[in-house]
Symmetry: C2
Subunit: 359 residues, 2 copies
């Protein structure tokens, strides 16, 4: 139990601490401000883009216990914008202030084996998977799962980083070397028709709500666009939402979660979960009364969750690298620029959303 | 001509200076951030609520020429959130950096006589009005205009402040004393059916766009609620938009303007204009693809104006004083809390907007 009272609803004017100062922290800060909250960003890197719209920023290492304690003393609740936040930092904060979502969500989402064991354990389908600790495990696993397959590091993967695809068992030595001979998971290839995701939220009172599932298109492992609604039958959309709710309840979760799913001929397969606001939920900013960022802030502050129904259909497109400069000419889209310094190739610099009347 | 090139389009990452750190500056800052701009607030008062979401804040007096010059050196364009910004401060900035909207808009809107002369001069209807410099003027004007009438200070009025109503000519001495025996204007009472407002914008290239007119309800001189669409015939709504465009063009205006209008049996009468984003345009945040705040930022940065069409009907309601705490229970409205310190009675602390499908 945290030192500060974990059960009370945080009133207007409370102070939210966010670990991580990227675009998700930035958009969380804006939503928190809309609810009258003050925001402090904790970020080791210089000039985090979230700091431009936050009340305060602490620039310190996640290993700096003193800085973490000072940060905790200035805030009423802590959250994070990325699942790879160091567990040690969360433990330091957690002794002093509520951290939401909690430790269990981080443990599950930081390790692909623990995540898949958790999902299987609550009866959800995942890709076939085998834990790989050495090269012998990999060749044995390829014998069981077959090729094509995907080798992923157990930890710290994102946006297609930390993974490589094997078309054939012959590629095992190269793949093992590519990933750095590190604890990994071999996943069987799922022959999916489409990729969808559900952005759902769970409040401190256990209330669960979800935004309508969106359909995702990836390029080179990076989300390119999300279309709402996904072109799936209503029954399948409902299944996706129920499945997300099962995950939230099993984790006794507080906040917003992103659940990536494959649609296959035999039903939904969970690809991965992200214990945070999610890129595929950015469309909610412009097509819903209350968006994923505000829903997250509401949840972690103990407020009732808001009405996330959508008033419009939408297509959200990411702007990578220098693509961001195109927004200066756009007049028919809602544009969101992240204020990052250098438009490196592939870097998420912004996104834009086009609306159309709800179909 | 300003020292910095006034004609170029400001790219992503440019720096916008805002005179005034209240809720309008705050919501401008959020919109500017969404376009990838950095924002610096200039505000004499301590802890301006806009600073919570801005990159930087200068706390200094509008008479502090050194602070104004330093501020100008750090920004690419300046704007303001209130029409009563001291002209001297704007002159200091204007020598160093573009200030948008320009000086003419401020001169017109800071003085009710100049404003009404300007409006009459471009053929628009206003309430009958007479300039009052001494008590003799007032009694003479009451003889011409009759009662009921409204006595308003020429300068520095807002939210019903600086004005008093005369039901009868006998009330002239008390009214003259109430306003502080200061240069004023006596306005004839307009028998209006409803009050509407148009929020319009003009770009650096002369392009004019307008949001759909909203219908306003005031209480005690303070805006209580705005309903969109206003319950007026389409032709009248078009007249209102054209009239706003005439004002913008006549002022060679750059930015967003709020035009308050009375609907009367004989047509539209201009109540007043505000050379800034306007409370009655807050509904655009939640019911339009691009809102009044972003439209203003687009205009002053030389970007093409965005699509401000509305996807939903809306009712925006102001939260005054302690009413703001009600948002902690609201789940079916988009809430906007301003982060101000003390919830004094009548103080604008936030607003909320409810949407309904476009009728």
């Amino acid at each position: 139990m945290a030192a500060k009272d974990a059960a009370r609803r945080l009133p207007i004017g409370s102070r939210i601490g966010i670990l991580g100062g990227g675009q998700l922290g930035r958009m969380l800060a804006v939503a928190a401000g809309r609810l009258g909250m003050e925001v402090e960003i904790f970020e080791p890197a210089s000039e985090p883009c979230a700091a431009q719209v936050a009340t305060r920023v602490t620039r310190a290492s996640y290993e700096d216990v003193g800085a973490l304690r000072d940060f905790a003393a200035r805030i009423d609740v802590a959250t994070y914008e990325f699942e790879n936040v160091p567990i040690g930092a969360v433990r330091v904060l957690g002794d002093l202030v509520p951290v939401r979502p909690g430790m269990r969500a981080l443990e599950v989402s930081q390790d692909r084996i623990i995540e898949k064991d958790f999902l299987s354990g609550i009866g959800l389908a995942t890709a076939p998977y085998v834990a790989i600790d050495d090269f012998g495990d990999l060749t044995a696993a390829l014998g069981r799962i077959g090729a094509p397959a995907i080798l992923k590091t157990r930890r710290f993967g994102y946006d297609g980083k930390g993974q490589t695809r094997l078309s054939d068992a012959d590629e095992a030595p190269a793949a093992w070397e590519t990933l750095g001979e590190t604890p990994s998971v071999l996943e069987g290839f799922v022959a999916f028709e489409r990729e969808i995701s559900v952005i759902a939220a769970r409040g401190m009172d256990g209330q669960v709500v979800a935004f309508d599932p969106g359909e995702n298109r990836h390029e080179d492992g990076i989300l390119r666009a999300t279309t709402i609604p996904a072109a799936i039958p209503n029954g399948l959309a409902q299944d996706a939402v129920l499945l997300a709710g099962r995950i939230l309840n099993a984790l006794d979760y507080v906040g917003v979660i992103g659940v990536e799913l494959f649609v296959t001929p035999s039903g939904l397969v969970v690809n991965e979960i992200a214990p945070r606001v999610h890129n595929s939920g950015h469309w909610t900013q412009d097509a819903c009364l209350i968006d994923q960022f505000e829903q997250h802030v509401r949840a972690i502050c103990g407020w009732p969750l808001g009405d996330g129904s959508r008033h419009s259909d939408a297509v959200m497109t990411n702007l990578l690298g220098e693509e961001v400069y195109a927004v200066e000419e756009m007049t028919g889209a809602a544009v969101h620029v992240y204020g990052k310094g250098t438009a490196r190739p592939g870097r998420k610099m912004g996104h834009f959303t086009r609306l159309s009347p709800r179909g």
